[in-house]
Amino acid sequence: MFSHEPTRNPLIINRRRLMGFLAGAVATGIVTKSEALAYLQDSSAKTGVTAEEWNPETIKALAGTREVDTEADLHALVPETTEGTIQYWNVGPTEPDPQITKDLYQEFQDTFARYYPNITLENQNVGYNDMLDKIRTAAAGGAAPDVAKMPILWGVEFAARGDTSEVTLEEFGWTAEQFWPGALKSVTWDGKLYGVPTNNETMAFIWNKQIFADAGLDPESPPTTWADVVAYSNQIKQETGKNGYGMVAKVNAGNTPFRFMPVMWAYGGSALDEAVDEPTYETTMINSPEGIAALQTYYDMYVRDGSVPTSALTNTQTENQDLFIAGEIAMMISHPSEYVAMQGRAAGATGADKERADQIVANMAYGLIPEGPVRRAVVFGGSNAHIMSDAAHGAPVNRDAARALVAMLTGPEWSLKNNWTDSNPANLVGFETKWMKQRLEEIAFLEVTTAMLPYGIPFPVVPESPEVMNIIVPEMLQNALTETMTVEEAANDAADRINALIASR
């Protein structure tokens, strides 16, 4: 059916052919122009990632076309003899992560030490759910590190409070053309740059073909719309007794908004107005009819159909991994690294468990995230590197050493290697390197998540974003799913809280 591969097979529809078909359909009146546009609507206006420039074919063509010499580039910027100590906090690999991720993480530190033997790098790997609290507290107490690599959602609040230093791309040897506009937007506050993007990614839709077949669904055809997801999830539950969709609805867990907001945006709602082409972040659309419809899909799956894990209210994606590898859920949203993670889990299993795990890995498939009535959407995610301010650090930051570290983190080689299995280099030159070519060969399904990039929508670039996404949105979900409130009441409650936040600015 729908494919992202270049092909001569007339039965395979790719985006180019689809556009041609739709153009003809509009001309002959089969579909209206708005229907056609809605079907194709991507978010390139917000991120600068257009499907024409960034699709599996173009990415494959770019890979391996440029040589980079990271060591020489760095030493031209910051001399090898630079001295000092740098504290660097980041969300690094955890135990479930693939081994290659952990190996490259260590290799980065070893390589930095080799490039700059007189700079002591004090690296601290902080868990995703702990990092924000830790760095907030540290910054408030004048104990923040020199450099912090933070997920894309977090940096703006630190910039607003003056906890990050203003930077320019030039001081790291970069130009604006080397980054997607949406990525640069996420490190811009009040017209100034306060960080440099390290990586950007989107997620994809994953399903278990065997469970699909057992439920009487076509194993090669994932759901194309969120309404399909609800229907498939219910059919899987009815026919096999297994859960359909791996819903995540825990409060204070980043996984929750990353998986719910694509649904919200697909239906035409948004937390503030981040999904419109020119967002102002001064208003909320969470309780619009479209937003309520999005919340209704979750309600239908959890309450009406009971087709998702009961533990969704306290699950993160880590728990979903356990359920998926045990064959207890059929569908979920995640990164390409999920495939590698499943392979790792299968390798560690024994006996009958191993046989089942191997079968699940063999039946894993990736596709585009389903679309809604308005658009196909996914969170434009990633991370940024920040040099913290002297006030937040509690002492003058060693600017030269910090520049060396940030330049290495955001360079083509390490913005790619540091995100080998689950993201893309924010520095677009990374796509041209030999390592990109190697990744495309080694990592299954990477091209699918890359194909989602044009549909990426960034979270609102306002300091209130973490509270909105980590507390208000998940609590709205929990209020609806536990039937503490009706769907409409939960959405209205969330809107009231967001409006109160806006009013308190």
Binding site: V251, S311, L313
Partner: protein, 319 residues
């Protein structure tokens, strides 16, 4: 003259001068060396406890918008917002439920264990050591293990009950608004009852065996011996133990935060987890400080009773 016939000598006592009440200043001066010895500890307490306390109270009268990071004096607005919000009273009920429930059941279970282990039997030492395990396990490890055991979809408890045919659907505890608090209290009781057991075991050693024997001779039943001899003797220990438990549970954060995060839908949200949310998720340091001050006042009142209980029967030291 016989001694018995000797007139009684009038014993005249010389008038005793009532000393003037000693002032605090004079007392301090007289005991200056004692105060010098405690001065370092007092200074540390002033820095570690006193300064944060004063700072928190001061901060509680300020608004701290996350956008600017600037603190704006707003009087008692934070207190008004907290006390007038429906969320506060819902969380207060949760906190009372959690604190009273955990204290009561931990006490009953701990007392029962202490009584059971009071009389010697073969293997008593081993049983006592096993019963201490929940107390020595770290709260973080306990939270994660229990979360796995009670997981709705792949938890040990749910899985076992389903495989035995006792239930045919997953046992939903931590994801249920109705069952999440009793479940968390059960885990907390498991964690805390050994503390009660230890305290009361020590107290039981002080109950005079002679009194119990006398009561038995007088025909007192086992219950009468317990209620009229043992319990009165343990009154002080019971009071201190329950007060410590109560205060500890009121402050208890780790289990609830790690197991449910206050969910689902705030059904297990406590004062302490809400303060954490307000401070470190919403970055409303002023409001979180106000909430902390309210909690502090309540703890202060409880602490007053604790100190009074501790010094209840202690002889007053004459200087």
């Amino acid at each position: 003259m016989a001694i018995a016939e000797a007139p009684a000598l009038a014993v005249r006592r010389a008038p005793v001068a009532v000393p003037a009440r000693e002032t605090l200043g004079r007392r301090i001066t007289r005991h200056w060396a004692d105060y010098l010895y405690v001065l370092p500890a007092l200074l540390v307490m002033l820095v570690v406890i006193g300064y944060p306390l004063v700072y928190t109270v001061w901060l509680s009268f300020h608004a701290t918008p996350p956008r600017t990071g600037e603190w704006v004096f707003n009087g008692t607005q934070n207190y008004q917002d907290i006390l007038s919000g429906p969320r506060f009273w819902r969380i207060t009920m949760n906190t009372i439920y959690w604190t009273v429930g955990s204290t009561l059941f931990a006490f009953i279970l701990g007392f029962g264990a202490a009584l059971a282990l009071h009389n010697p039997f073969r293997g008593r030492g081993v049983v006592r050591a096993l019963l201490l395990i929940p107390w020595v396990v770290s709260a973080v490890a306990a939270a994660y293990v229990w979360r796995w055991i009670l997981h709705s979809d792949y938890g040990l408890v749910s899985g076992m009950l389903r495989s035995w045919g006792v239930i045919d659907r997953p046992l939903v505890l931590l994801d249920s608004k109705s069952y999440v608090m009793p479940t968390l209290i059960a885990v907390n009781v498991w964690k805390e009852f050994p503390f009660v057991m230890v305290m009361l075991t020590a107290g039981l050693q002080t109950v005079p065996e002679g009194l119990l024997r006398a009561a038995r001779i007088d025909g007192a039943s086992t219950w009468d011996q317990f209620w009229h001899v043992t319990v009165p003797h343990l009154k002080g220990v019971i009071l201190i133990t329950t007060l410590l438990l109560f205060v500890g549970n009121l402050n208890s954060f780790t289990l609830v935060w790690l197991m449910t995060g206050g969910g689902p839908a705030n059904a297990s949200q406590l004062w302490i987890t809400e303060i954490y949310n307000i401070a470190f998720r919403s970055l409303q340091y002023g409001m979180a400080s106000a909430f902390s001050v309210i909690l502090f006042i309540i703890m202060l009142a409880l602490g007053y009773f604790y100190v009074k209980a501790l010094t209840m029967n202690a002889p007053r030291r004459e200087g």
